[in-house]
Structure formats: C-alpha cells, structure tokens
C-alpha cells in the first residue's frame, strides 16, 4: 500500500497497473523520482528531445496547497520553451510593485517591471498545483506527438540498491511492490528526499530559529496586486513581520513571522489564525472582509544543500539537493533551472555525444546556483530575524533611516527576488570576443529576450545549439555529432540591438540548449564556433 501523505489538488496521473509489475525488472535510461515542478520539467525536456523518461510519484497528482507561488521570468521562459508557459501566464497574477512597511509607515515601494520587449513578465504568482498541472498538460501533448515520457502515479520508491552502472529500485504500488532499474536515477523528491536518506547522504546547513505561519485565504478584496511586506507589523499578534500577496482564484497569501518558541498545534487552531488574519485585514481595509481559510501551514527556514549534487549515476535536483528560505522565490525557480541544466546534458550523454564528465558540470554549475541562492536567502533571513541585540539595533536603524533617506533603502532586505543564474567562468564557456558589447550577454549569461519579427527572439532558439548571427552571414556548424543551427537576425529590433550588439555592428553568439550563451564574436569564424561547441560539451 502507498501511504497518502497529503491531499491532492488535481489528480493528474492516476494509478494504473503496468505490465512491468508482473515481469522481471525492466531497465530504463532515466528514472525521475518525484512529479513536482522539477521532475516534470525534466521529463518534459528530455522527452521532447527524444530521450525516454519515466517519472515515479508516490501520489496521483499535484499536492494541495499553494506551496511555491512566485514564478520568475526565467522559469516562465523555460516553461515557454517547453510549451507550458502560456497557460501559466494566462492564469497567473502578474505583479510588479512591492511595498515595504515598518510598523505603520510605508518606507518605500519598488517596481520589478523590466524594461520593455520581453514575452514574459518579471514575476507571476501562481499556486504550485497549477504550475504542475500545466506541465502535465504539456507532457500529454508531447506524448501525443510521440515523446517517450511516462508518469506512474502512486508508485512509491521504498528501497534502492546502487550497482555502480545502474540502480535497482523497489517500488510500492496499490497492487504490491515491483522492481525496476535505472541507468540514471534523478532524485526530484523534495526537501525531505527519501532517496537521499536511503543513500545515507547528508543535507547540511543552517536552520533558522523561527516559525512562519502561512494562511492562504479566499476572499474578494480590492487590495491592489502588490507585494506588501511589514517589518514589525502594527496589527495585533502578527509577529515580527508579515506579508500579503495575491494569487489567482481570489486567494491571498498571508505570512506571519511567529518566532521560535511557539506551540505549533495551538497556533494552527483556525480560530487563532482567524484572529490574526482579522487584525491584519481590518487594519488595512477598515473592516474584516468575508473570507475563508483555504490552506494553512507552519514552517521553519532552512538554508542547506548537499555537498555534491551528483553521486555517480544518481543525481539530485531541486529541493532534494538544496533548500532555501522562501523570501526571494528561490526554491522552485532554482529547481526548474536545475532541470533545464540537467536535461540537455543527460540527453547528449545518452545519445553517446558526451562523456560522463558532462554530468559533473551539472553539479558544479548548479551547486554554484544553490550557493548564490543560499547566500541571498540567508542574508534576507538574517535581516528579517536578527539573531542578536546588536543586529536588531542595526536592522531597526536601517528601517528608521530608510524612511527618511534613500541611501538606507537598498539595505532593507525583505527577500532578494530570484534572478537567473550566471555561469561565467565555468569550464563549458568560451571566449568573449565582441568588443564593447553589453554585459548582459556575456558568456555564461542566459539569453535575454527581445522582440523579433512578430514574436520574440527566445522563441527561435529552440532546444538545441544555436548560432545566432546579426550583421553578418553565418552557416550551420556541425562538430562531434552536434549540429548547431544558424539563426540569422536580419532586422534587429531596438531592444535586440541594445541587448546583443551594443556598439558593435555585427555579432555571432553560440547558445547552448538551455539558452545560456557559450561564447560570442564580432564575426563568423566556423573554426572558432566549432571549438566553442567542443568546449560546451566538455570535449575541448
């Protein structure tokens, strides 16, 4: 029997007995454990490239509750490439403005709206179950087009044995258990990763001594679509900080920072939660609007990561590999970047076009991403939850000064929102041979979007290697089995020019399948591009 650990919001992959349950273990090239945002994005990406992916999930759909709610532009760009982005943006709440309060006083507001000329907004708020549902919808579309993706619901991995070149998994189902084998096992099974425990691997870092109460409330309210954050909120029993943020379906996310020494049971009593929510809402609206508690939870902050994301042919991605505090939206957003980084590398390896060592670059690049997220997230948490008297004195000094002087505002930290990872300086990146070119398109950076023709430039980059040429002629470049297709920009939009050319009159970019820039030049040189491709697949 497979235990039900949580209720599902949507049934997406109901249990269905498969023949393999009655036969000798079947070997799969890639088995992904966990059908959350990371596992699903990885399966979809692999399947679209023609590499078989089997997803095992111990439930039959998306878990109930908002969980991750803030999805960043980079994630939406990835989802768009995978064919799942549009419904997310259509359903999501687009927001740009945030306000920061200190008790009764508004300190400042900020606007995240990026400069014009991007398909996707800076952020949307969307409950995680929707995010997962749209990925599964896209998986169904891909399956119909022949993509070798399979999802098995209510398939719970209870044991694993690593044989070096492959891993055997014991999988429990409503019909009993069976065994299967994986050439590559990808653990996308969340922060409490059972696979990590089964392998006896540690997950080290800091636990922040604080409890946060989440209340997602359903109400019709005409608060603006903004992120409101209070330090030392003026309403009763709100704790040391509070957050109000809108989601789709008239759901509002409310967070209260309760402190360390609390009675969890008592704090989760709906009457007690309602008292807090009443106080917050009435202080803002002047009355208590009608509302229902949709989902409540208490969580503690942890910032930690596995020392290594790759253990032979077992690879960890998303929360199983790294965990951060939520202020900054760096959990799911970084996990989806893990999936995208891993997908093309695993695909090349399984097609015999790359060596095992390419998987090590997944680990080094994404460990770097995790470190950056942990750093930002720890700093935000330290600011919000000062650990010592003196740090509280400084924190409050910053808040007091921020009200009067602009200089103190950049020091106010209620979360530094997720930005795309930059891999500059890592092994797989090549030369920057374009003088006086924009910094935002240096090797290592993800391609910024820009209008192109009737659409956007990212739509034309696809999921393979691309030679992007502007102001000069280029051709496809084939080397080591990699076919880099040329994308010729004949008419450059002003945004494209400012993001990719700067002062230059011509440019050639090599872009890898996850749309990160490998190298760039002032003119097309086939040999140089071929060399950069070799660098990008670890065969230089």
């Amino acid at each position: 029997m497979v235990a039900t650990r949580y209720k599902t919001a949507f049934q997406l992959y109901p249990y269905a007995r498969v023949e393999a349950q009655d036969h000798a273990p079947v070997r799969h090239p890639v088995v992904i454990v966990g059908g959350g945002p990371v596992g699903l994005a990885l399966a979809l990406d692999l399947g679209q490239k023609g590499t078989p992916a089997l997803v095992l999930d111990d439930h039959d759909g998306a878990g109930l509750g908002s969980k991750a709610i803030c999805f960043a532009k980079r994630t939406l760009d990835i989802a768009h490439r995978l064919g799942a982005g549009q419904p997310m943006v259509d359903k999501g709440v687009v927001w740009n403005v945030g306000k920061v309060f200190y008790a009764d006083e508004k300190l400042f507001d900020f606007n995240l709206q990026p400069d014009a000329g991007h398909r996707n907004p800076a952020f949307i708020n969307l409950q995680q179950p929707y995010f997962e549902k749209y990925l599964v919808d896209a998986i169904h579309t891909a399956q119909a087009a022949g993509a070798p993706i399979e999802i098995r619901g209510c398939n719970c991995v209870t044991a694993l044995e690593n044989h070096g070149s492959y891993t055997s998994l014991t999988v429990d189902t409503p019909d009993g258990s069976y065994t299967l084998e994986a050439d590559y096992l990808i653990a996308c099974d969340g922060a409490r990763s059972p696979l990590r425990d089964m392998m006896g691997l540690s997950f080290d870092g800091r636990v922040f001594e604080d409890n946060f109460l989440i209340a997602d409330v359903h109400m019709k309210a005409d608060f603006p679509t903004e992120r409101w954050f209070w330090f030392e909120p003026p309403f009763k029993a709100a704790g040391q900080s509070a957050l109000l943020h809108k989601q789709p379906d008239d759901i509002w996310r409310i967070d209260f920072q309760l402190g360390w020494d609390i009675d969890r049971e008592a704090e989760l009593d709906p009457a007690r939660i309602r008292a807090r929510v009443d106080a917050m809402l009435s202080s803002q609206a002047g009355y208590v609007p009608e509302y229902e508690l949709e989902w409540t939870s208490i969580y503690t902050f942890q910032c930690r990561r596995m020392q290594k994301f790759r253990h032979g042919n077992v690879i960890f991605a998303g929360d199983s590999a790294h965990q951060v505090s939520p202020f900054g939206a760096r959990g799911a957003n970084s996990g989806v970047q893990d999936a995208e980084n891993l997908a093309w590398k695993l695909d090349l390896l399984l097609k015999g076009l790359a060596d095992e060592s390419l998987l090590d670059t997944y680990a080094t690049e994404r460990e770097h991403g995790a470190d950056e997220n942990i750093l930002n997230s720890s700093r935000a948490t330290d600011f919000m939850t000062p650990k010592t008297d003196i740090s509280k004195i400084f924190r409050n000094a910053v808040l007091e000064l921020a009200n009067r002087h602009a200089f103190a505002r950049p020091l106010v930290n209620s979360g530094r929102l997720s930005v795309p990872c930059n891999y500059a300086g890592f092994d797989l990146f090549g030369e920057d041979a374009l003088d006086e070119a924009p910094a935002g398109t240096r090797p290592g950076m993800p391609c910024p979007d820009a209008p192109h023709g009737d659409g956007f430039i990212l739509d034309h980059l696809g999921g393979g290697f691309t030679v992007l040429a502007v102001g000069c002629e280029a051709t496809d470049v084939t080397t080591h089995g990699i076919d880099a297709k040329v994308m010729q920009v004949k008419t450059a939009s002003p945004e494209f020019t400012s993001r990719y050319l700067g002062e230059a009159s011509a440019a050639v970019y090599l872009i890898r399948p996850d749309q990160h820039i490998v190298a760039r030049w002032s003119h097309f040189d086939k040999t140089a591009v071929a060399r950069a491709i070799q660098t990008a697949i670890g065969k230089a």
Binding site: R379, D382, I390, S391, A406, F407, N413
Partner: protein
Amino acid sequence: MLTLSPNLADPDGFYEELIRAHEGLTKEQSDAFNARLILTLANHIGDRAVLSAALDAAK
C-alpha cells in the same frame, strides 16, 4: 555635501560583514567597536561640514 542617495556597491555584502564583525562581542564590546568604527570613518571623510551634516541626518 553629504551623500544621502544609495552609494554602496554591494549593500547586502557590506551589511553581512558589518553584522559579522559584531559576532561574539558583548554589549560593551559592540558599543566600543561601533565607536571606533565611527571615528575611523569620520577621519576618512575628513570634511567637517559633511560630518556635521551626517550627525544631523542620523538624529
């Protein structure tokens, strides 16, 4: 002229270093550290008018 617009290249990094400098200090030691820090920065600034303006801005 006292600069009151943002002027720190890496505000989060500086703030972290500042708080870390106080780690393990008693209340008395922290106060003394702050005093030494202010005096060091004041010397770097040098300009009397700017220092007076800063004393006023921090009130």
